[in-house]
Symmetry: D2
Subunit: 333 residues, 4 copies
């Protein structure tokens, strides 16, 4: 039974606590937030748990095996480092750290001391992303040629990091997981419409070893979520639309006997060349699977699917994309 | 009554002929194709029309006022130039010409001789594109911030031009028409998966005066059409999906009272912040409106919506994007 | 080569003419409309065809083998009867006739004289309906249990017949074709909202030999078309939505391992138990296939898919449903 | 502060407990299930609550003000009656009771003793249903003419009641709430495909005072949920599709200038006559609003939106529909 401390009770913290509480591998949970009111509010929802406003209590507590860190990005590195030095396994919310140097140090520290370092790239535990991985690996799509990804969001603007650091961790973690490799080439273009110096729209080009290319469109400025990833292979195409209720994944088959349309009506009506299959997906909650992977790896010493090493790869790409973006920001004058 | 010769009876030619034949402004139609079999086949569908396999016949014919050129791109310039020099108005299928130099010469020639030069950017006559223009110009969206456009196609591969010259004329002509300006900045990234040297995937970044940015994703490699343009303004967002049967345009309103979702289910279910309106569109055939504009301008001397000058702007952007693409093509090794 | 006269140039007539003209089996076409202005307008679109305002000319013309009758329902019977007596094959627009007695006489006349009688149940020639038939006959759905059909229309109100006579021919012809049998039981419920005595909403229950049941919802009063048919079998379900551009048919597989949802979010999100397949459909125009079937049967003596006998079965059902509806009309007071 | 006992911890019970626990009006919760294992399992999720396996304990407990009954239908009446006689307010899951006689007695008992009787018609607390009520009452749709409703379900077959008693409570409660009246006329048609004597498909016709009519299609036999309600008024139409993630409600405007389609392509493409609006819906959990209404009415003596009287109206309609269905069941032979 793993004994876990959870630091940070903002949006993700309480959801992680809920899933830890429901997991049979978890023997004890202590929750922690600097803000006493927040601690009390969330504590009220989980009556049986110990509480503290001081994260050092958790780090010093010998009855704690592992820490779940769901605080702001800037505190990920100091908290995780202190925890690892104190011999605790760590789970850190995405993005893993705020620089490559920080992320490398954490991975190195974890590796040296035989402790689990894991990053909360939740999408790596979501049913459509797993099904997509399975389909790609099965060879059903043929050779992957290119991917496009659109992630535009409900206008929840961040004040201190660019849209790349906020949203790209999702796309990067999925792309690298599906392809099993990191990009050689990254460049970005974008603008800062709302706050000067905080890019809120970014278009990112990526080139991977072996020739796969990708394009990622990110923005905070939209009144509606769009979340669509297209994966084109030499045999089939997969479209993953996370806003669809029931048909999140569709696989489009290629068929060669496309007949030339002869009238405007036919022209408008023929949109594809083969069957479309929407596979049934499992319906578990990603956070439950994520916490299960963490607790299991703490118990067994295995490497989690969303390991610190994967977190480092994402941070490397974020740093490159962010630097490229800040150099190419498009000015309004 | 305008007397028109139509050169080239491939895909677009017969559709242009059909719409010319149905237009009351059109007094005579002569159709022309080098291939006698094709000329006979299409001629059989339009029994009353004169025919010739020699385009020079049309250019020499004093009973012809205007030429509609629907041949391969490389012949656009020589045919249009000869026609203009012979005092004929010209309509040229998209793209207008195969280089900026050619396009500039045609525009200059047309301007000097007071003849209409028009390009077949059909989308500028399609109901959803016109409605979008109307909505943008009304200020309903607020200040336009960025646009994204996806145009992936049914695997109809061209052998001699890149995907940029084949597909980008659609997106560029729409973007420039909506925004009323040309881009200062264009760069592209992509690859050539099927035929070395013929790029078949391209991601294009555009920066416009005044700060608007855009990203265009193009490909021939897909088994299904995707045609989606997103226009984000400071007040509302417009999504134009040309594969939708009935709700091609949706306008998403912004509302600020977004409540933080507290459970996974709510998180999944809240995808927008305001009302969505799908305006009723007119339902005419774009080619009919395009031919009407051409014939009307021949009669009146007006400048058509899709003028040679607009065609030149598109060719400038195509040339830049294509050059940038060929410099950044991503290699598989 | 079949020589055809077409009587009635309203909505369907010109579309039938266009498809006859494009069919290689058709050697001559004479078009006929009482209204000289209409005849001239439509004739102008098909320059090579003979014209007359008098249908008797067609019936007397020895150079005519077959008549296509696209006039109002009430004239179907007298025109078709006269034509059959004159030894012409007949194609009659739906519904076949305005009473069972009329329909029976036409079928009998055609049978006795060895002439083709065919009814324009166009849906029997449309790709989604044919694919549905193929899927049902393959046994893929298992035993058919029930069907529901919704057909609500764009508010194009008829003045002299009920919504049953106007819209149910579509649903009845499809249902009987798919199931290969006629219903034992028909009853209807509805109301007449716009014109007293002309029912404009109808709900129809049908019971078939072997136990299959069906429910059909019809109306003219809607501002948007809804056209959805659901076929539930013991193994799978097929949904046919004719307003979908690209996925008109979806086949839902059954899977038994439904997990009880434990949260509201999951409850909302799990809508199905297995894969969904949307088969690629052929993309020909139904009227072309319909005319091809007619001309082929005239040449060969075969029975067309949409034979007079099938037209009689539909008229029988229309008569029963209409009588039941008029007895159960719901009054507003 | 209201002190509540919850009897029955199957599917709905735990969800009701969760929402009671989160509601500030609720001072104490005691949970009850006959099955000790189930009691322990659910009790483990809500650590602070008292537990009992004997419902009589709750009825006798003077520290309990109100009972929430989420057991099988047959026990609703005896439990609710005993509770009312013991002076407790009662909330009963849908359907209210298993006969009109039972429901009438409970309403009468509640009325006489001044206690709240409420039924768990959860849809009356769901955002799309409330928005629909608001739109109908505003007159925006004009005079309501007819409604159709489809509710086919994931193949979760009941063993002891017909599909009418299982699914129609949802549709009936919504219809009666929206229209503000009960039907004069009810008849049903259907079949029992899986278990003889337990109808699993039903088509129900309803006629209301004032002339509104409705048709409800119900089934358990489908591998996918379909949940669509169409409300046609004299001015606009509202479509409520509960399986849509984001556009559950669409309002279709009528516009009269429908142009006759002249080609097959146009014919296929014109599906509506006016704008479509999808209003933003609130995003609260219906059960939270339902429990809030119950607790508030217990405190204030107000009548809840989903009162016992409304529950009685639904039971009356269920009884009629079920009787009509059992008389008209369609036999397979």
């Amino acid at each position: 039974m793993v004994r876990v401390g959870v630091i940070g009770l903002g949006y993700w913290g309480p959801n992680l606590v809920r899933n830890l509480a429901a997991n049979g591998r978890c023997g004890r949970i202590v929750i922690c937030d600097r803000n006493p009111a927040r601690l009390e509010l969330i504590g009220g929802r989980f009556p049986g748990l110990d509480r503290t406003t001081c994260c050092q209590d958790l780090i010093n507590d010998p009855e704690i095996d592992a820490l779940v860190i769901a605080t702001e990005v800037l505190s990920h590195y100091p908290l995780a480092k202190t925890a690892l030095l104190a011999g605790k396994h760590v789970f850190v919310e995405k993005p893993f750290a705020s620089s490559v140097a920080e992320a490398e140090e954490l991975v190195e520290l974890g590796g040296r001391s035989g402790l689990v370092t894991m990053v909360g790239h939740t999408f790596l535990y979501s049913p459509p992303v797993l099904k997509t991985k399975e389909i790609i690996d099965s060879g059903e799509l043929g050779d992957i040629q290119f991917l496009t990804s659109t992630r535009v969001n409900l206008g929840l603007h961040q004040k201190d990091v660019s849209v790349v650091w906020d949203l790209a961790p999702h796309d990067f973690s999925m792309l690298f997981y599906w392809l099993g490799r990191e990009p050689d080439f990254i460049r970005a273009f974008g603008s800062d419409f709302v706050l000067e110096g905080i890019p809120d729209v970014a278009f990112i080009d990526l080139g991977f070893p072996g020739g796969v290319i990708a394009n990622v469109q990110l923005s905070w400025l939209s009144p509606s979520k769009l979340r669509k990833t297209v994966i084109v292979g030499s045999r089939k195409m997969l479209v993953y639309d996370d806003t669809e209720p029931d048909e999140k994944i569709k696989i489009y088959d290629k068929r060669v006997d496309v007949i030339e349309p002869m009238t405007f009506g036919e022209y408008q009506l023929s949109y594809r060349s083969g069957d479309i299959l929407s596979p049934k997906l499992d319906s578990f909650e990603p956070l439950a699977a994520e916490m299960e992977d963490f607790l299991r790896c703490v118990e067994t010493g295995d490497t989690p699917r969303s390991s610190g090493y994967g977190g480092l790869a994402v941070v490397k790409a974020l740093e490159k994309a962010d630097r490229s973006l800040s150099e190419s920001i498009w000015r309004r004058d």
